[in-house]
């Protein structure tokens, strides 16, 4: 086991890693920016070190300072959390160069899985379905020919792009020429590269992802799947486990996830994201080579501590957990409480926490770095707490979440959170009966 772990992150995930380290009896140093010197992880840490000014690029993304911090504090491993440097293969490589264990997969895994193209190749090799699509297209004629093969509607995408920018939905061949020209222009503007690819456009789908844990030598187990379809602008807001897919489809997707992760001899915690259309077709989207925000729902139904397992695997402990030993039980839901004003289109909201009261009782878990008197800094993302519930059935879990949200108080001058949004979802009849696709927030919440 490691002597000391440097936590290269902030907020609730820094606290999450600190808790795991503490339970393993490993010392932890929390690396923090100047804005986070009074964060809960820093206050609870065995040791803390400032690694830069508030802007992320100068602190949580500052590789030299983070590595130096690990070196001078005598840390022999770094946990990157999620976001920031968690999926940066250069960082993982530099950790290796300096003799520090990066708690995550190898840089090589991250390289090959990190790009859309690489992920699609690996999926094809491991016989995991991907959304039908093309390589780079030169002309709208080529695009029309490809679209005929795939079937309309199709999606034109910037090859270099991401985040929905430079994308155009094309519903028939007449629309293609104009859309192609527009998409090229946008791709050039956003990414400096006009190259386009084309994919089948799947309008209505669930976002389902498979949690895997691997030992880096080919032993891979899944810890069930999660449905993360409640999103807004591609940001997940509510996740649950298990999904409500038919059992045979669930098993097919879980098997596909394990197959792909085994193919790359994946090490540590990873998530394979799939889209599942209403007909039950599923397509691999990408793999997230890190622990995720929503890992907690998988922990609740499995009883496992995925962050402890990450650390154990990275430290070289034999990972011998067999699939049969992982018993998934009941249903878990996570609500992300963001410091945003739901009434005002989720406008970010910051301020000081003056009154804080989290729910308790059976089946309720709170992961939050808030404390009374804490100032939510404006520099980082708006997640302030994760409220997770677990109950024997989905119906009971919804009732429990509703109850727990009703006990939650996060107040301060000017501070708003998304508690009201989540209460509304828990009361929504579409949500209650599980009729959820990724367009839920825009189409199902105005009834």
């Amino acid at each position: 086991m490691f002597k000391k772990i440097l936590i290269a992150n902030r907020g609730e995930i820094a606290l999450r890693v600190l808790r795991a380290a503490r339970e393993l009896g490993v010392k932890a140093v929390v690396a923090h920016s100047e804005a986070d010197s009074q964060s809960l992880a820093v206050l609870l840490a065995d040791e803390a070190i400032c690694i830069g000014p508030p802007p992320s690029k100068d602190s949580y993304l500052n590789i030299p300072n983070l590595l130096s911090a690990a070196i001078i504090t005598g840390a022999d491993a770094i946990h990157p959390g999620y976001g920031f440097l968690a999926e940066n293969p250069q960082f993982a490589e530099m950790c290796r160069d300096y003799g520090i264990v990066f708690i995550g997969p190898t840089p090589e895994s991250m390289h090959s899985l990190g790009s859309k193209v690489g992920g699609r190749e690996i999926a094809a090799q491991s016989k995991v379905p991907i959304v039908p699509g093309t390589g780079i297209l030169e002309t709208s004629q080529e695009a029309i020919a490809a679209a005929e093969g795939i079937g309309y509607p199709v999606l034109l995408k910037a090859s270099a792009g991401g985040g929905g920018r430079g994308q155009k939905v094309v519903r028939n061949s007449e629309e293609m020429a104009t859309a192609f020209a527009q998409a090229q222009l946008e791709a050039l503007n956003y990414f400096g590269d006009p190259a386009l690819i084309l994919e089948k456009f799947i309008e209505l789908f669930r976002h389902v992802e498979v949690q895997v844990m691997g030992d880096g030598k080919g032993h891979v187990v899944h810890v069930g799947e999660r449905d993360c379809s409640i999103q807004r602008r591609n940001q997940k807001l509510i996740e649950e486990a298990p999904s409500r897919l038919p059992e045979d489809l669930r098993q097919e997707i879980l098997a596909a996830g394990v197959r792909l992760a085994k193919h790359v001899q994946y090490a540590g915690a990873g998530t394979l994201e799939f889209i599942v259309d209403p007909e039950g077709h599923f397509y691999f989207m990408e793999m997230n080579t890190r622990i995720q925000v929503e890992h907690c729902v998988s922990e609740m139904i499995s009883g496992l501590d995925l962050v402890k397992l990450q650390i154990l695997i990275a430290s070289g402990e034999p990972f011998t957990l067999e699939q049969e030993a992982i018993q998934l039980r009941g249903h878990a839901i996570e609500c992300r409480l963001n410091a945003e004003d739901y009434e005002k289109d989720f406008r970010p909201s910051i301020g000081k926490i003056e009154t804080l009261h989290f729910p308790g009782g059976p089946g309720v878990r709170v992961d939050s770095h808030l404390y009374t008197g804490y100032n939510v800094p404006p520099n980082y993302d708006s997640l302030v707490a994760k409220l997770i519930v677990h109950a024997p059935t989905r119906e009971e879990a919804i009732a429990r979440m509703h109850r727990a949200l009703g006990e939650t108080v996060i107040e301060g001058p000017g501070l708003k959170t998304t508690v009201a949004f989540h209460l509304e979802v828990m009361e929504n009849s579409f949500y209650k009966r599980g009729a959820i696709f990724t367009n839920f927030v825009s189409t199902r919440m105005n009834d």
Partner: protein, 165 residues
Amino acid sequence: MNAKELKAILQALQDHEVAELTLETPDYKLTVRRGGPVQFITAQAAPVVSAPIAAPPHLVAPPPPTSHTPAPTPKVEEAHKEETNHYAEVKAPIVGTFYASPSPEAAPYVKEGDSVQKGQILCIIEAMKLMNEIESEVSGVVKKILAGNGEPVEYGQALFLIDPA
């Protein structure tokens, strides 16, 4: 003016996002600041000065949880800052190991009491096996060296106090 009238006025202000309004009629004088005090003075009455609005919570911020964690000990430089706030502080711009001299055998770059020029090298911070020379940002006299040779330093840690020339 009755309650209903007042309510209608307030509603109008809110609808039109008016922050402040002063209205004078033969019967009364009304001043409304939303989020601030409302002054309502009838014409007959002597003007009333209203007390300051609900002050910001006078409660000191409840302390962060510290019961089982060691209380953050006030850093040495904090004390220095108080006593010597006309001094310039040279802070660590990177995380690393502080060295007062270019090599173990060599003399330190500077000693307390030395005069230094802006741009003069004060120390080295080793980070990732690279030696980074730290220059003085001001000219003046080195009053205090706050880091020990070979000590780890974090970002922003005060290294030197310099009395500007």
